[in-house]
């Protein structure tokens, strides 16, 4: 491996200005009027640092994973690297052209044909006409739309549309490639194809910055990873170390929320919630503990309920003490345990929303805690992802092969394979 630098980021920061004003002045007239009324007043402003003092280096041919929760500054970092927006502090040095797969299909126009869109989109992404012509066959082939090249893309199915868009972006030949969550497009087969393409790109000796929520693909594709937290770079390391740190960070959160800012009538409040060490295997019971406190005297105790969400925010399990006929004890402070024995959950990150309710919502604590489910799968053979990752839960299933029939037997049109 050469130690040639490809990206150097030094003290990079990006501040957005938030105006503290009841009515934001959106129109010229409002701005002019405001200026006229208060010629000397400065707007009360506050800078919000979406990214602050971030420094790192990426060598040529390295695949760097960028991990962080929503709002941690991942998108801002990519926007700065691609020059979509400018930094407030620091500098970025780039040794090579930057191509990005930020938003697949940006610049696609529904009225234009597939062919026209390949050229337009290619140019928008920074390819020259020669490069596009050289890659044209490969793009069409990858997307599998050769029969519809001269059809306006507004008549494409959404699958075709996305495939074509990704295909153009995937054939960018820049020295540095930024990838953001694109693997979440298309059907399973196409996702596999995309992942394969990413491997290929990485092996090509090009530098890749890979931003994803899919920790599994970060672990699989990246040489190193960085973790962003609240706009700051909190750690650089091996993908495994960073993923481990990230899942820990994920579990730490939630407790900072001020109970009084939460929705609900507030007679009782959830004051803490945790999920043990935050790791469960697929099949073991998921056990959470929480503490509730009575905020106002003499109030009748509420029911407790919870929603378990996966990383795509889908609700995969629901529990409610109402269904069990059980209310919290009539005490100022009580601890309780929530336990889900079934269903089995596929590996991934989960969050739990906790609620207290009686005649209405008493306390709504979204994202009260987080936990990770880690493999191995509770099946005797592990198989490829596509054999289990289509459903939000893992089924405790069985498939029994009944007695086989001979092919030349008295079949009534049935065949074994």
């Amino acid at each position: 491996m050469s130690s040639d630098l490809s990206i150097r980021v030094e003290g990079l920061g990006k501040a957005y200005t938030i105006r503290h004003q009841q009515n934001d002045h959106v129109t010229l007239a409002q701005v002019a009027l405001e200026r006229a009324k208060h010629p000397l007043r400065r707007h009360e402003r506050e800078d919000f640092w979406a990214l602050r003092d971030v420094s790192f280096e990426v060598n040529r041919g390295e695949v760097l994973g960028v991990i962080g929760r929503n709002g941690a500054g991942k998108s801002t970092l990519l926007k700065l690297l691609t020059r979509i927006t400018g930094p407030s502090t620091g500098r970025i040095d780039l040794w090579g052209r930057v191509g990005s797969l930020l938003e697949v299909g940006t610049g696609f126009h529904p009225e234009l044909t597939g062919r026209e869109n390949i050229y337009l989109n290619g140019s928008i992404l920074g390819m020259t006409r020669k490069e596009i012509e050289g890659q044209f066959e490969a793009i069409v082939d990858f997307a599998g739309v050769d029969r519809f090249l001269d059809t306006p893309v507004k008549r494409y199915s959404s699958g075709m549309y996305v495939r074509l868009a990704f295909a153009v972006a995937a054939h960018l030949e820049t020295e540095i490639l930024l990838v953001d969550e694109v693997l979440a497009v298309g059907d399973q087969d196409f996702q596999k194809k995309c992942l394969g393409k990413m491997h290929e790109v990485a092996k090509d000796g090009r530098t890749v910055l890979f931003v994803s929520h899919q920790l599994a693909s970060v672990g699989e594709l990246c040489d190193r990873a960085i973790l962003l937290e609240a706009g700051q770079l909190s750690e650089i390391g091996t993908p495994e170390a960073i993923i481990a740190l990230y899942t820990q960070v994920d579990r730490r959160r939630g407790r900072v929320v001020d109970p009084s800012s939460r929705r609900g009538t507030g007679e009782y409040r959830i004051t803490s919630a945790e999920a043990g060490d935050g790791n469960f295997s697929c099949a073991e019971p998921k056990v959470f503990r929480c503490t509730i406190e009575r905020a106002r005297p003499f109030c009748p105790p509420p029911y407790v309920s919870g929603l378990v969400r996966n990383a795509s925010q889908e609700i995969v399990a629901q529990m409610d003490s109402f269904l069990l006929g059980a209310r919290a004890p009539d005490a100022n402070r009580s601890d309780l345990e929530l336990r889900i024995a079934q269903p089995w959950l596929p590996p991934g990150d989960y969050t739990v929303d906790l609620f207290l309710h009686l005649h209405g919502v008493v306390d709504a604590f979204h994202d009260a805690l987080g936990f990770a489910v880690v493999g191995p799968l509770p099946y005797p053979h592990s198989g490829g992802d596509s054999s289990w990752d289509r459903a939000p839960i893992l089924a405790d299933f069985d498939i029994t092969f009944l007695a086989g029939r001979p092919i030349d037997g008295p079949s009534r049109g049935e065949t074994d394979q």
Partner: protein, 280 residues
């Protein structure tokens, strides 16, 4: 390969809030994209129309027809002697349409491509400039029509025809300057999208498009001459169909005005450019 820790980076990104473009040469590097944007505009303009490209020919003819009917027919204004009124208005129309279309299109093009501006990098000036290319196609067609009519009606432009490109470029400069500034401002203040068409409409009536400056009452002439379009229109008509030449003073005033507007527009644009993606 040769890029080691010591070598200079290909590109350095730093915070800046300047009045001048950071990488002017990039406009040239991205020229293909500019052509694509223009090609897209032209393709889309006539896609799913029954007459297709025929509209390119029809629109200026209809426009000039209406103007000559209203001003030459109803208002009974006199064109310059020896030039059919229709030819006279068509000459004015070519210039006016070029100006108004570049202004309108370039001012709206950033907001119209908000998705692109927020998600992909390219020199932002490219978008408004691409409207010049797409408008040139219409202008070229109108010019061919005009030349054909000149031949048919036997009108001869003088040597002034050599100055035509100059006048045309001044129209483009003025339009682009306005387009740059209003387009950049529109990103933040959408009010501009209502102001621009009204302004254009006002200018159409305040400029001698379908009549000569000479037919304007003497009392209003000075006021008219303040409008830079007056000098440009008189100039481009002089070059195309040999009408009366504008005074040197008026020509210089209009030219300087247009160039100053172009420079100011560019400054406003580059000043605001960095924030486009954040507020669009």
């Amino acid at each position: 390969m040769s890029e080691t820790r010591g070598t200079k980076p290909v590109l350095t990104i730093r915070p800046r809030r300047a009045w001048l473009p950071a990488h002017p040469s990039e406009l040239w590097a991205f020229r293909e994209l500019m052509v694509r944007f223009a090609a897209r505009d032209i393709t889309l303009r006539y896609r799913q129309t029954a007459l297709g490209a025929i509209w390119v020919v029809l629109v200026p003819l209809l426009g000039a027809g209406i103007l000559s009917f209203v001003f030459g027919g109803v208002a009974d204004l006199q064109g310059p002697p020896g030039i059919p009124y229709f030819v006279f208005t068509l000459a004015g129309m070519v210039a006016w349409t070029t100006f108004s279309q570049i202004t309108t299109r370039s001012s709206a093009i950033l907001v119209g491509n908000a998705g692109l501006v927020g998600k992909v990098y390219f020199p932002r000036l490219l978008l408004p400039i691409s409207t010049v290319l797409s408008t040139m196609v219409d202008a070229a067609v109108s010019l061919v029509l005009l030349v054909a009519l000149l031949v048919i009606s036997g009108v001869r432009p003088g040597l002034g025809v050599l100055t035509f490109p100059l006048w045309f470029l001044l129209f483009v400069a003025l339009a682009l300057g306005i387009g740059f500034a209003s387009g950049a401002l529109m990103v933040r203040y959408r009010d501009i999208q209502y102001i621009v068409p009204v302004g254009i409409q006002f200018l159409l009536f305040a400029s001698p498009v379908a009549y000569t400056l000479a037919s304007v009452p003497a009392s209003a002439q000075t006021l008219y001459e303040l409008n830079p379009l007056t000098g440009l229109l008189e100039g481009i008509r002089w070059s195309l169909i040999g009408t009366e030449r504008p005074t040197i003073g008026l020509a210089i005033y209009s030219a300087v005005f247009s160039l100053v507007v172009l420079v100011l527009g560019t400054l406003v644009f580059t000043r605001m450019e960095r924030q486009f993606a954040d507020v669009i």
